[in-house]
């Protein structure tokens, strides 16, 4: 039996498809006292690169992971233990570390994705955590629930977190006749009913933010608080992203479009582009996206400004923006008088991926205890 005071740091699993990751740098050195939530190392997967924050507190005794090496999920990267644990015990722990069998844990955690019936068809969602208030994560135009890979588990520590694929998106139904903000909002409302959620902290990114506001306007009791990330619905100005995204037919056209989403363009990997292309090529996606883009953002203008209908909710609302957002002007952060505003440096439209740790902290703070 190993010393219970020894805590391993292992390769994280970001998103359901991640099997391995490359350790690209250590942000702390052995000898450092680490607090839970502190970024300690950087990992790159075939989809995305990001900082990994420690899930435990303790003294970093050993950095086992070698920079530049690719490790399977759950491989040992480092060891935390109080100073009184002898080096020999740590050596023994490292030598005897057995990686949990891949897949074992996945089966324990039950079905990966779940499905809810709405009037448009089946909607896919993921649920994490069992405690606290419900939280709903709503992605933006052309996104899906996997956009929240750096957030969902962190938020699930104290809340029950739901992330869904909107109709026309991800693996949800592609049946989206006469799309509008109201149609999408109704589908979220129906999803909540099906999943047994009476009210929730609603987090919306981009178009998902407009949906969050519309939901609060239609049925205030469903929305405990709103967190609007680089949100649509706050002002008419809008870039060319959505029209370019819809028009892109191959990797060559799509890559520069997706690069608009990030301050650090190198985050757009081949795999990320391929995954979006695979989604865009499913039968029914192109017409659904075309109609949705025209209805909400035709002429590169935002047509729905639900912020007007929820002015009374300013006290429950926080707005988070990436300063280098190229899709929706960062100035829109100030279009919700009374709401708390956080503008994060060196981040673009996907601020919740690029600055996941900061955004997670802001979200947790906003949900309260």
């Amino acid at each position: 039996m190993s010393d219970p005071r020894i805590v391993p740091i292992v390769m994280p699993k970001w998103g359901l498809s991640m099997k391995e990751g490359t350790l690209t740098s250590w942000l702390v050195q052995p000898g450092k006292d680490i607090k839970a939530g502190e970024p300690i190392l950087e990992v790159e997967t075939d989809k995305i690169a990001g900082e990994f924050q420690s899930t435990d507190s303790g003294l970093l005794r050993r950095a086992v992971g070698i920079v530049g090496t690719t490790y399977p999920v759950k491989a040992l990267l480092g060891v935390l233990a109080p100073p009184e644990v002898p080096d020999s015990a740590i050596d023994e722990y490292v030598a005897g570390f057995v990686m949990p069998v891949a897949g074992e844990d996945d089966e324990d955690s039950g079905p990966k994705y779940e499905w809810a019936d709405t009037s448009l068809g089946k909607v896919r969602y993921a649920k994490r955590g069992e405690s606290g208030d419900a939280v709903i994560l709503i992605h933006g135009f052309g996104g899906d629930l996997d956009n929240w890979l750096f957030n969902i588990d962190a938020l699930a520590e104290k809340n029950t977190v739901y992330a869904l694929d909107l109709p026309g998106h991800g693996q949800s139904t592609k049946n989206l006749p006469n799309p509008s903000l109201n149609v999408l909002t109704k589908s979220v409302s129906e999803f909540m009913k099906e999943a047994g959620i009476t009210s929730a902290h609603v987090v919306g990114h981009s178009m998902g933010g407009a949906i969050a506001m519309q939901l609060a306007a239609d049925d205030p009791s469903k929305v405990k608080t709103m967190s609007l990330i680089c949100s649509a619905g706050l002002g008419p100005e809008f870039g060319t992203y959505v029209s370019d995204y819809v028009a892109a037919e191959g990797r060559r056209d799509l890559k520069p479009v997706l690069e608009m989403l990030f301050a650090d363009k190198s985050l757009v990997s081949r795999q990320l582009v391929d995954d979006v292309l695979k989604y865009k090529r499913l039968d029914g996606v192109e017409p659904a996206l075309k109609a949705l883009a025209e209805a909400l953002f035709g002429g590169n203008k935002q047509h729905d400004l639900p912020v007007k209908a929820v002015a009374n909710r300013a006290g429950d609302t926080q707005i988070i923006w990436g300063k280098e957002d190229q899709i929706i002007p960062v100035a829109h952060a100030n279009n919700f008088p009374g709401a708390k505003v956080h503008v994060l440096e060196s981040a673009g439209h996907m601020v919740f991926m690029e600055k996941a740790n900061d955004v997670n902290a802001l979200l947790k703070g906003h949900f309260g205890a």
Binding site: Q171, E249, G250, R251, R252, R270, R281, L282, D283, G284
Partner: protein
């Protein structure tokens, strides 16, 4: 919803979904149902390797067992296509194309041009290609260069289940004659495939691995051998870019040239015999269009210029291995 399914299942699913979507799609071939004229089950075979199994009862009257006469039924498929249907004829082994040259090469490929663009021939001829199945010289060839040589034909050769489904759906929806080459050794090969229908456009190569030191251009089963070689080379610090052409006509030379302009080194890997091959074609275009980018001579990895041997030992020697490919890459790195 994506699941892990085999290339065999992916092809079956593409046929099934297109027959469901479009009533003008039907399939024909030798033993693709497998019970015609016999006493037993009508759906006895589902093709010699079970690729079309289950479609006979799902689509009554649209899965046609044909006589053992490729000349006749491929001609019939082309005629049906010219008259508004979208037939998919299975040639079992594409080696048998020899008896259909006039129908495919001299008729189907020419109609659009000879009738001033007024005639369309949306026919798909699908069947098995490639060595490694102990099927001997007349059932093991990679005849992709022969098909690619003929203007008016489109030629597809997928390396995995995802591409097989999307490219076969595109082949059926395309208004030109398409020869769809299925590597028999890859039928059990599994990958993530959406349950929904989707089409992959022709003329779009897939960069299956990124690398800065050398470019491998290949297709079909050789993609897997090339990836094995790339993994081996990575151990000694050589990062190879691997390009899966996916469709040979049209061919995506832009992706190839972009890559070679970055890496400066090219290895063309082809399971077809070397003379007038896809490897030779790609090499010629690169040396014409990107000569100044090349840091060393182009290498070609192909089988020898002989028929595929029946002896298992010789057949294994015939097919290019990861090791031969890695050696060719090292050769381009030598200077």
């Amino acid at each position: 919803m994506a699941r892990n399914i085999s290339m065999r299942q992916a092809i079956n699913e593409a046929l099934d979904q297109e027959m469901t979507r479009d009533p003008s799609v039907f399939i024909m071939g030798e033993d693709i149902a497998g019970g015609a004229g016999g006493q037993g089950e009508d759906d006895a075979w589902g093709g010699p390797l079970g690729v079309t199994k289950g479609l006979f009862h799902k689509h009554p009257g649209r899965v046609l067992d044909t006589p053992l006469s490729e000349s006749a039924f491929v001609g019939a498929a082309i005629g049906a296509a010219a008259c508004g249907m979208r037939p998919v004829a299975e040639l079992m082994f594409l080696d048998f194309m020899g008896v259909c040259f006039d129908q495919m090469f001299n008729q189907a490929a020419k109609f659009k041009y000879m009738f001033g663009g007024k005639a369309q021939t949306p026919v798909v001829i699908r069947g098995m290609v490639g060595a490694g199945f102990r099927a001997a010289a007349q059932h093991s060839q990679m005849l992709t260069p022969l098909f690619t040589h003929i203007p008016g034909l489109k030629v597809v050769c997928p390396s995995n289940a995802y591409d097989a489904k999307g490219l076969l759906i595109q082949s059926i929806r395309d208004n030109d004659p398409v020869i769809f080459c299925e590597h028999k050794v890859l039928y059990p090969h599994e990958s993530d495939v959406p349950a929904e229908s989707y089409a992959i456009p022709f003329g779009e190569a897939n960069v299956v691995r990124e690398g800065k030191d050398a470019t491998i251009v290949t297709y079909g089963m050789m993609v897997h051998r090339s990836m094995d070689a790339a993994k081996e080379l990575a151990k000694s610090g050589i990062e190879v870019e691997v390009i899966d052409l996916r469709t040979l006509s049209p061919i995506d030379m832009d992706t190839v040239l972009d890559s070679v302009e970055r890496t400066g080194r090219l290895v063309c890997v082809d399971e077809a015999t070397p003379r007038c091959s896809i490897a030779a074609d790609v090499s010629a275009v690169v040396s014409q269009e990107a000569f100044k980018a090349l840091k060393s001579g182009i290498q070609m990895v192909t089988p020898p210029h002989v028929p595929v041997p029946f002896s298992p030992t010789l057949e294994d020697l015939y097919i290019p291995t990861a090791d031969t490919i890695a050696k060719a890459v090292r050769k381009t790195m030598a200077n």
